[in-house]
Subunit: 408 residues, 4 copies
C-alpha cells in the first residue's frame, strides 16, 4: 500500500461483486467507504443499492439519475461524429465510463475522499477508462482497483469471501454466470464464458435488449426524427428530451430486432475479445444522423469528419474522453454541425433501419443542379471538361515520361 | 475541334444512347468508329451490340467478357480495404470505370485509334472516371465526350436525331425512362427523375437486383465464405473463381433482400445527388471480410487501414484508380492481408447479414488471454496498473497545473 | 460574354499589368471599374495607384491599409497550425489572397458592383485562390479573369495594347522582367523566366527581402518573442500589434539572412513550378511558435495538430480558406492554443534561427519527472514494465503464431 | 524473479554502467552472460569491450560492425519518409534500437540464451524500443531491465557497487557526468542534468559531432548527392556504400556547423524531456531527399507521404519498428520511391543546408507547362475556368443558402 487511505468513493452497483469490493475495501484499507450508484439507464432498480449500502454501515450514499446528462453530454456529442470503433461498434460501454469517473471525482472532492475505487477487472478496457478519467480530473487521487489487487481470483474464492463476510448472495449469483453483462441507456454488452469461442454464434439467451429479427413484426414501423445542430430533438414530430428520445428509440429498436452486433474487437490492453452488443436506439440514431448530414453537410466537411472519425472512436474506446485531443476533435466535429438540422424519415423492419426520406431548411441538395432535365443554366457542362483536364494534368505528365496508369 | 480525329474507340453498350453517339461521331468527326462492348456482369446480352454495330458499318467490333478480370483485379483489391464512400456506398459504379477505360486505351493502341469516346454525361462522376483513366494510361489520347459537346440537350432532340439517322428505337426507349440505371456484377445503381426528391423513398419498381426484405423468405439462409490473403476463394467449402463467387453471393443477396441503399451523396463535380444502389453480393462480402479480419488482423494494422479507408474510397469514387496515390494505398492495404485467411459463417435473413462465426489458422484471438477464468499466467493483471499510469501521466501533469479533464 | 457587366471591382496594384487590365475592362465590357488597392505590406507606395486610377477616369477608388487585419486574422491563425506546404513553404502568397477577395466582395456589395476582376494568370494558383474566395463569399458574383480571356498572350502584345491605349509605361517595364515577384508583409516570392531551370540555383539579384547568410553579421542577434494563446504579442518584452511584430521580425530576419527558400512545388492546377521565397519574419515566428508549443502543448494535442497540418496547409495553398473544412480544422487548432502562452528566446545568425530558451506559466515540462536524479517518487519506474508489456502484447501474440517482427 | 535465468545476452558497451549491469546480472541471477557489442558508428573503440568482457569471465563475446546494415536497412528506409518527430527530430536514437534488439534476439537464439538485458533506464524511451523489439521478434524471451529492478538508484550507489565488485572505474566516470550521451552514425544526443532547464540554451561543451556555425568556415562547401529509388548512392559523383555516404556527410556537416537541434520533446512514457541532438549528415540528407522528391514525385504521392509521415515518425520514436503498422506504412513509402532518382546539388554554409539544384531523368518538372512564355498549347488556360467553377460549386451552393465564406 502506497499510503493509508482515509475515505474512498466506490462505484457501487449493489450487486454481489461490488458488494464484495465494498467489504474488501473496509477490511483491507480500514477506511470509510462512500458509495455512488448512478442510473445511466441500465434498467435496474437503484433503491436496493441504498439498502445494501446501509447494511454495510455506509454513511454517505449517493444515488443519482444521470440519464439526461449521459445522453446530452456524452452520447449525443459522440453521435455527432458517427463514431464506430473498428467500423462497427457504437461504443456503448466506453461512453458511459467517463461520466461515472467524473461524478466519482466530484463526489470525492465534495466529501473529502482521498481515493476512488471501481469494479472493473485487470484484463479489460473499463479499468483504463475509469482511471484515465480519474487522473485527468484529479491528478492526485488514489485509485483502488480491487480486481488487480486482491487474491479472489476465482468465483469460488469470491463466494467464500462473501459468505465469510455476511454478504447476501442471491441464488442466481451462486453459480457462475454464463456470460457477463454491462448495460446503460445506449446499449447492453455481453461477453465471456459462453461467448468465448468466436467460431460459434451467440445463443439467443444472450440478448437482453432486443428481440430477434425473426421474432419482430412482419409489418414495418415508420418513424421520423428531428435534428437540431446535429442532435436529435424530436420523434414523430414531438419535441423530447435527449434521454426520452433515446429511450423511445430503444423501444422501437427492440421491437423491430434492431441493433445486434456480434464482434471480435481489439482491446486497448492488447488482446482480442468477443463481445455481443445490443444498441437498438443508437443504431437507429446513427442511420438517421447520417441521413440528415447527407443533405445538410458540405462534402468536404463530411469527408473531413469521416477521416478523423476512426481516431475519435479509438480515443473514446481507449478511455481518453477527458483528453486534449478528444476536445480538439470535438471542436472540429461540433463546428460541422451548425446546419445539421431537419427531419429524417425511417422505416424499421426486422433488423433493418431504412432511411426513406430527409428534409431540411438548410439542405444543400439542389434538384436544379443535379437534374437530367434542362437545368436552366445552373450548371455548365463545359466546366467539367476543364475540371477533368486539370485534374488529369499531373497524371498525363507522369504518363508522358513513362509512368503510365499512375505508376510511380 | 482541336484537330481531326481519324479513328475513335467508343465504349458501346448497344443501347439507344450510345447508338446515337456512334452515329454522331461518324457524322460529326467523319471518322472511323471502333466499338468496345464489355460484359462486366451487367446482365445484358452482348451479341445484339455486335449486330447493331455492324448495322452502322463498324468494321472493328470488340466484345469481351471481362467479369473475372473485373472481380479479381478491381473489386477484390477494393474490398481488401473495406472501402465505403461516405460511410455507406460500396462504389459499384466507380470501380467498373477504370477497367473500361483501360481496355479502351489498349484497344485504341491495338487498332491505331487516336481517340476514345464514352457516353457519360457532363454532370456526373463517370465522365471524370473514364477520362482520368484514359489520360493516365495514354497522355496523348484525344477524348470525345459527346454529351458535353453536342446540342442534343433533351430527350426529344435525341429521339429526333435517332429517327433522322435511321437508328432503331425500341418502344420502351421512346418515352423518358423514369430513372437511369447502371449495372455490373457488383451492383446496380439507379438515379434521376423519379428519384430526384430525397424526401421521398424510392418506389419498389426501382429495384432490379434484389427482392425486398419483406418479400424475402421467412427462414434464414446460412452460408460460409473462405478467404485467402484477404480475397474470397470459396463458398460453402467449394473453391470458386472470383466472378463465380460474386455471382453466387449476388443470388444469395437478392433472394434475401440484402444490399439496398438509398443515399444522398456528394459528387466529385460538386453537387449532391441521390442514388439508389443494390449491392447484394458485395454487402455480404464486406461483412464477411470484416469478420475474417476481426480475428486475423493485428489491432494497429486494422486501425491504420480504417484511418486511410475514407481517402482510398474517395480516390476510387473520384476516378483516381490509376494514380500514384491509389497504388501507394493499395500497397499498404495488400501488405496487411498476408494472414487474412480463414472461414466466415454467415446468416442471411430479410436484409440482414449476420456473421455467426469466424475461424482461421492465423487467428490472433487467444482464449487463454481473454478468459475470465484462470488464464494460467498468460496475462499479468499488474501490468495494467503500469500501463494505465503511464498513459495517464501527461493527463495528470496537465491536471496538476490546472488543466483538468483534458482541458487545453 | 455570359451577360452584360455593369460595374466591376478590380484588384488594382497601379502597375502596368493591372493598368492594362483596367483599360481592357473598360474597353471590353464597357463597364464602370472600381479599383481596390490594398496595403498588405508589399512595400510599395499606394498613392500612385490613386493617381493612375484617376487618370483612367475611375470614380470609386478604394485604397486601404490592411496590414493589421492581414496579420491578425490570416497570418496568425495559420501560424497557430505551424503550416508548411510540402514540408517547407510558409504560404506567404496563398494567405494574402483570401483577404483581397473578401474586401473585393465587400466593396462590390457596398458599391453595387456585379463583377470582380483580378490580374492572376491562367496557369497559376492565385486565380483559384481569388475565385474560390469570391464564390464562397458571393455565389452570384461575376468573375472576370482577363488573363484567361484576352488575346494579349505575349509581353509584346501587352506593351502594344498599353501604347495604343495611352497607358504610361515606365522604362523598366518595357523589357521583359527576368522574373515575376509577389510580396506582402509575410513574404516575397519570385518565379518564372530566370528561375525556370530547377537545376540552377537562383542568382542573388532575385532576393528582395533578405541579405544573404554570407553578407549577414558575424555576430548573432538575440531576441525574445512573447506568445499569448498561440499568437505573438510581444518582442523583446515589448507588447506590440500583430503587424508591428511581423514587421520587426522581418527586419531581424532580413539583417541575418534568414528565411530564404528555393523550392520546386506542386500547383493545384496540376504542374510543378519553381519558386524562390523569402519569409524572414515568418521563419523566425515558426521556430518560436514550435518552441513555445514544445513546453505548453500536450503530446497528443501536438501530434494531432501535426497529423492534420499537411491537409490544413494544402487547403490554404489550394485557395480553400473560406471553406467549411478549413473552418473545422481552425476550430481544432484554435482549441489547442489555450495555454500556448509564454516566452521564447532565440538567436539569429547567418541564416540560422536557434531557439535558446522557452518559459511559460503553463509549462508541462516537469524537471522532477524527467530528472536522472532522485525524483522523490514522482515517477514509478515499475510502471514502465507494465506499460511495455501491454504495448507489446499484440506483437507477442502475433509472434507466437509465426508472425515475428511485426510480420503481417 | 519470475523464473530462473540460465543465459542472458546483454547489450554491452564496455562502459561503466553496462559493466556494472554485467556483474549485477552474474550476481543476481547467477547466470551466464553473453555480451553483444555493436559498432553503429558511435565513434568508440570496440576492442576494449572485449578485454573487459573477458575480465568478467565472459565466454561468448559478440563484437560486430553493423554500420552498413544500420544505414542500409534502418536509416535509409526511414529517410525515404522524410521522417521528423514532432516536426523537428530526426530520430537518431530511435532508429538504432531495433537493430540492436534484433541482433540480441538472433544471438540469443544462436547461443541458446533464454533472456536479454539492456542498460536503458526506466524513465526513457529506449527501454520501450528495446523491449518492443525483443518481444516482437521472440514472444517468449525473458527481458531483464536492471535499471528498473535494482536498488542502485544513485550514482554513489553505482560507484560503490563497482568498487565492491572490482569493476575498474576510469577517473572521468567517478564524478557525475554533466549530461548523458548516446551516439551512432546518424547522430549524437545529449540530455539530463546540465540540460534540464529548457529556458537555458546548451553550453557549447555539449556538442560532440559538430562545430558551431560561428566556428565554421566563411566559405561555403558545395556538394552533390546522387539518389536511386529514394536512397543516396553517391557523393560528388562517386558511388559509395550507405555507411560511407553517411560518414562523409557527417564530416561535411560537422565542418559546416550543420545539424544541431535543441528540443523539448514528448516521450512515449508520458513526460516532456529536453534533448540536444546533432545530426550533421542526416540533416543534409533530409534536405537533399526532399530536393530530389520535389522534381520526381507526383503531387498526390508526396502529399500522401506527408500526411502519414507524422504517424510513421511517431511509430519509430515509440519503438514500433517491428510492427505490422510500420511495415504497412513502409510498403506505402517504398512504393512511392520508384522514380526518386537523380542528383541534388547543395551548398553547406555555417549551419545552412541550401539546395541549389536538382536534376533527374524522371523529372516531372516541365518547363513548357509552367513557362510564362508561349507554351505552344501545352496548357489550355480555359481549362482553369472550368476547374475553378467546379471546385467552387459546393461553396457557391452553400453561400446561396446563407452559408457564406464557407460557414457551416
Amino acid at each position: 500500500m502506497e499510503h493509508k487511505v482515509k475515505k474512498v468513493v466506490l462505484a457501487y452497483s449493489g450487486g454481489l461483486d461490488t458488494s464484495v469490493i465494498l467489504r474488501w475495501l473496509q477490511n483491507t484499507y480500514n477506511c470509510e467507504v462512500v458509495t455512488f450508484t448512478a442510473d445511466l439507464g441500465q434498467g435496474e432498480e437503484l433503491e436496493p443499492a441504498r439498502k445494501k449500502a446501509e447494511m454495510f454501515g455506509i454513511k454517505q450514499i449517493f444515488i443519482e439519475d444521470l440519464r439526461e446528462t449521459f445522453v446530452k453530454d456524452f452520447v449525443f456529442p459522440m453521435f455527432r461524429a458517427n463514431a464506430l470503433y473498428e467500423g462497427q461498434y457504437l461504443l456503448g460501454t466506453s461512453i458511459a465510463r467517463p461520466l461515472i469517473a467524473q461524478r466519482q471525482i466530484e463526489i470525492a472532492e465534495m466529501v473529502g475522499a482521498d481515493a476512488v475505487a471501481h469494479g472493473a477487472t485487470g484484463k479489460g478496457n473499463d479499468q483504463v477508462r475509469f482511471e484515465l478519467g480519474y487522473y485527468a480530473l484529479n491528478p492526485n487521487i488514489r485509485v483502488i482497483a480491487p480486481w488487480r489487487e486482491w487474491d479472489l481470483t476465482s468465483r469460488t474464492k469470491l463466494i467464500e469471501y462473501a459468505e465469510t463476510n455476511q454478504i447476501p448472495i442471491t441464488k442466481d449469483k451462486r453459480g457462475e454466470a454464463p456470460f457477463s453483462v454491462d448495460a446503460n441507456l445506449l446499449h447492453s454488452s455481453s461477453e465471456g464464458k459462453l461467448l468465448e469461442d468466436p467460431a460459434i454464434g451467440p445463443d439467443e439467451i444472450v440478448y437482453q435488449r432486443t428481440i430477434s429479427p425473426e421474432a419482430a413484426p412482419d409489418v414495418a414501423t415508420e418513424i421520423s426524427i428531428d435534428f437540431l445542430h446535429g442532435d436529435a430533438v424530436g420523434l414523430n414530430g414531438e419535441a423530447l428530451s435527449p434521454a426520452t428520445i433515446l429511450t423511445r428509440l430503444n423501444e422501437y429498436g427492440k421491437a423491430n430486432g434492431i441493433g445486434r452486433l456480434d464482434l471480435v474487437e481489439n482491446r486497448f490492453v492488447g488482446m482480442k475479445s468477443r463481445g455481443v452488443y445490443e444498441t437498438p436506439g443508437g443504431t437507429i440514431l446513427l442511420a438517421a444522423h447520417r441521413g440528415i448530414e447527407s443533405i445538410t453537410l458540405d462534402r468536404e466537411a463530411g469527408h473531413l469528419k469521416d477521416s478523423i472519425m476512426p481516431r475519435y472512436a479509438e480515443l473514446i474506446y481507449n478511455g481518453f474522453w477527458f483528453s486534449p485531443e478528444r476536445r480538439m476533435l470535438q471542436a472540429l466535429i461540433d463546428t460541422s454541425q451548425a446546419s445539421v438540422t431537419g427531419r429524417v424519415m425511417l422505416k424499421l423492419y426486422k433488423g433493418n433501419v431504412i432511411v426513406t426520406g430527409r428534409e431540411s431548411p438548410h439542405s444543400l441538395y439542389n434538384t436544379r443542379m443535379v437534374t437530367f432535365e434542362d437545368d436552366a443554366g445552373a450548371y455548365n457542362q463545359q466546366d467539367a471538361a476543364g475540371f477533368i483536364k486539370l485534374n488529369a494534368l499531373r497524371l498525363r505528365l507522369g504518363a508522358s515520361i513513362g509512368r503510365r496508369g499512375g505508376a510511380l
